[in-house]
C-alpha cells in the first residue's frame, strides 16, 4: 500500500512540476481537501513534494515559465535552452538535487544541532546580509547611469513587494517570466542537444547549495531564490552552469532539511510541512519513514526529470507559438491563484522586468521586491 502511495505521489509530483507556477504550497492546499492519514499521507505528500522539486525546473528552463522556487534558474537555464542546451541545464539542476540528497543525509544531525544552537543568532545577522546584498546589487553595475537605474529598479520593486502583499507569484512571473518571454530570441525552431557534460567540480556548488537549503529550511522569510541570489552575490564569479547546480541543490535540500526542522524544532517552513504538522502525526517512526521516502523519491525525481527533458528535446519547438501559449497560461494562473490584484501586480512587475532588460541592468535588482520586505520583517517585526 505504501509503495502505491509512493507511485501516486511521484506521479502527482510530475504533474505539479510540469504545470508552470504551481508551487508545492498550492498543492498542499489541495491536499488539505483529501482525507490523508497515517504513513500513507506522509508518503504521498513527501514523494509529491520531492519529485516536484526536481521536475519544477523543466517548465522554467524549457518554457521560461517560473515558479516561486525556480525563477532564479530561468535566466541561465532559458539562455542555455535558447542555445540548444536545455537538457544540459536540466541535468545540472538534477545533479545539484542529487548531490544535496547524498551529502545532506550524513550531515543531517550535525546541521540540525548547529542550527538549533545558532537559531537565535541568524535573525540578527540576516538584516545586515540583506543590506549588504542591496549595496552589492547596485555597485556591481558598471557605470554611474546603470548604478542609478539599478537603484531605481530596487526601490520600485521594493515598493511593489511591499504594496502587493502575498503576490509573490505574479511579481516573479512578471520580472523573470513574461518579461523574458516578450523579449527572447525569436528563433523559429530550436534543436535541442541531448549531449551532457558534467564536471566533478560541480559537487562544490551542490555542497554550497546545501548551506542555502539548510538556511531556507530554518529561517522564516528566506526563500530558495533569495538564498541563491545572496550566495551568488557573495560568490560573484559563479558561472550559469554552476549556478544551476546550486539552485537544484537548494531546492531539494530545503525539503530534506525541513522535515528534521519540523521534527526536532517543531517549526514548519513550507506548505508540505504545514500539512504534515496540522493533518498528520510525526512520530519517530514516521520521521524515519519520511527520510526513507525522501531518499527514494529524490532518485525517482531525478530519473523522471532527465527522462522528461530528453523527451522534450525530441520535440521541435516553435518558440514563438509556445511563448504566446505560456504567456496566456501564466496570466490565467495568476488570475486563478491571485485574482484581479494579481493581474495588476503582473502588469507592474512585467514593466519593471522589461526596463531591466532594455537598460541591460541585472535582473536580480528586481529581487528588491523580496529582499526589502524580508528586511523590514527582520528589522521591525522579529527584533
Amino acid at each position: 500500500m505504501i509503495i502505491l502511495f509512493l507511485i501516486i505521489g511521484s506521479f502527482l509530483g510530475v504533474i505539479a512540476g510540469l504545470i508552470p507556477g504551481l508551487h508545492v504550497n498550492n498543492i498542499s492546499k489541495i491536499a488539505f481537501l483529501f482525507p490523508l492519514f497515517g504513513d500513507e499521507g506522509i508518503v504521498l505528500i513527501l514523494s509529491m513534494s520531492i519529485v516536484q522539486s526536481f521536475v519544477d525546473f523543466v517548465p522554467a528552463i524549457f518554457f521560461g515559465a517560473p515558479s516561486t522556487d525556480t525563477f532564479e534558474g530561468i535566466l541561465p537555464g532559458h539562455q542555455m535552452f535558447l542555445l540548444g542546451e536545455g537538457h544540459q541545464a536540466i541535468t545540472l539542476t538534477v545533479f545539484g538535487g542529487i548531490i544535496a540528497t547524498i551529502i545532506s543525509f550524513p550531515v543531517l544531525i550535525i546541521f540540525i544541532q548547529f542550527l538549533e544552537i545558532n537559531n537565535k543568532i541568524f535573525p540578527k545577522i540576516i538584516p545586515f546580509i540583506l543590506v549588504f546584498s542591496i549595496i552589492l546589487l547596485i555597485f556591481s553595475e558598471k557605470n554611474l547611469s546603470k548604478k542609478l537605474i539599478a537603484t531605481f529598479i530596487i526601490f520600485t520593486s521594493a515598493t511593489q513587494g511591499l504594496l502587493f502583499e502575498n503576490q509573490l507569484f505574479p511579481l516573479i512571473t512578471g520580472y523573470f517570466g513574461i518579461a523574458t518571454l516578450i523579449i527572447s530570441n525569436k528563433k523559429e525552431k530550436i534543436v535541442q542537444s541531448t549531449k551532457t557534460n558534467l564536471e566533478l567540480t560541480y559537487v562544490i556548488d551542490g555542497s554550497l547549495g546545501l548551506i542555502g537549503g539548510a538556511i531556507v529550511s530554518i529561517i522564516p522569510g528566506i526563500g530558495n531564490n533569495l538564498a541563491a541570489a545572496i550566495i551568488r552575490l557573495f560568490k560573484r564569479k559563479i558561472k550559469p552552469k554552476n549556478y544551476l547546480v546550486l539552485l537544484g541543490s537548494i531546492n531539494t535540500s530545503n525539503f530534506i532539511f525541513s522535515l528534521p526542522v519540523l521534527f526536532f524544532l517543531n517549526k514548519a517552513r513550507n506548505g508540505t510541512m504545514i500539512f504534515i504538522n496540522e493533518e498528520l502525526l510525526l512520530t519517530p517512526h514516521s520521521f524515519f519513514l519520511g527520510l526513507l521516502i525522501i531518499l527514494i523519491s529524490a532518485g525517482i525525481g531525478g530519473i523522471l526529470t532527465i527522462f522528461l527533458s530528453k523527451k522534450l528535446c525530441n520535440i521541435e519547438f516553435n518558440t514563438n507559438k509556445i511563448e504566446k501559449i505560456i504567456i496566456i497560461l501564466l496570466i490565467i494562473l495568476v488570475l486563478i491563484f491571485n485574482g484581479f490584484i494579481g493581474i495588476i501586480a503582473l502588469i507592474f512587475s512585467t514593466s519593471l522586468g522589461l526596463l531591466a532588460i532594455k537598460t541591460k541592468v541585472k535582473r536580480s535588482t528586481c529581487l528588491g521586491s523580496i529582499i526589502v520586505p524580508v528586511l523590514f520583517f527582520y528589522t521591525f517585526v522579529l527584533i
Binding site: I2, P35, F37, G38, D39, H87, T91, V94, F95, I98, T101, I102, T194, T196, N197, L198, E199, L200, E278, E279, L281, T283, H285, S286, F288, L289, L292, I293, L295, I296, A298, G299, I300, G301, G302, I303, I306, K310
Partner: protein, 109 residues
C-alpha cells in the same frame, strides 16, 4: 560525467532507500474502527467519528461515536464541539478498569 551516470546514481539512491524500507518498515498507525481499536489494551490506530459529548475541556475528555462509542482523553487542547467530525491518532489504555483512547493527536475535519 553524462546524464546516464546521473540516472545510475539516482537508481542506486532509490534502491538503497527501497531496500532499507522493505527490511525496516512496520506500520505504526493504521486506520481502524472504534471497536477494533478498543479490542485490547495497547492497540494503536487512526479512528474517526462524531463528537457526541464533551466531558471536560482541560484536560480534554470527550466521547466519539462511529461503529461504537469511545471515551477519548487528550493532553493537547483542541477547539471541538459536539457534532464535530474528528480524526484521532491514539492508543487504547485501561483507566479505572475501563478502556479509553489516549489521543496523541486530534484533528478536526
Amino acid at each position: 560525467m553524462q546524464d546516464k551516470d546521473i540516472i545510475k546514481i539516482c537508481f542506486i539512491i532509490s534502491l538503497i532507500g527501497l531496500i532499507i524500507f522493505v527490511f525496516t518498515y512496520t506500520p505504526e498507525f493504521e486506520e481502524k474502527t472504534i471497536s477494533q481499536i478498543l479490542e485490547k489494551e495497547g492497540n494503536k490506530g487512526i479512528v474517526y467519528g462524531k463528537v457526541t459529548f464533551i466531558l471536560r475541556k482541560e484536560p480534554l475528555i470527550f466521547f466519539i461515536e462511529n461503529d461504537a462509542t469511545a471515551k477519548v482523553f487528550s493532553n493537547k487542547q483542541i477547539d471541538i464541539l459536539p457534532e464535530d467530525i474528528v480524526t484521532i491518532y491514539g492508543e487504547t489504555k485501561i483507566y479505572n478498569g475501563k478502556k479509553e483512547i489516549i489521543a496523541l493527536k486530534v484533528i478536526k475535519q
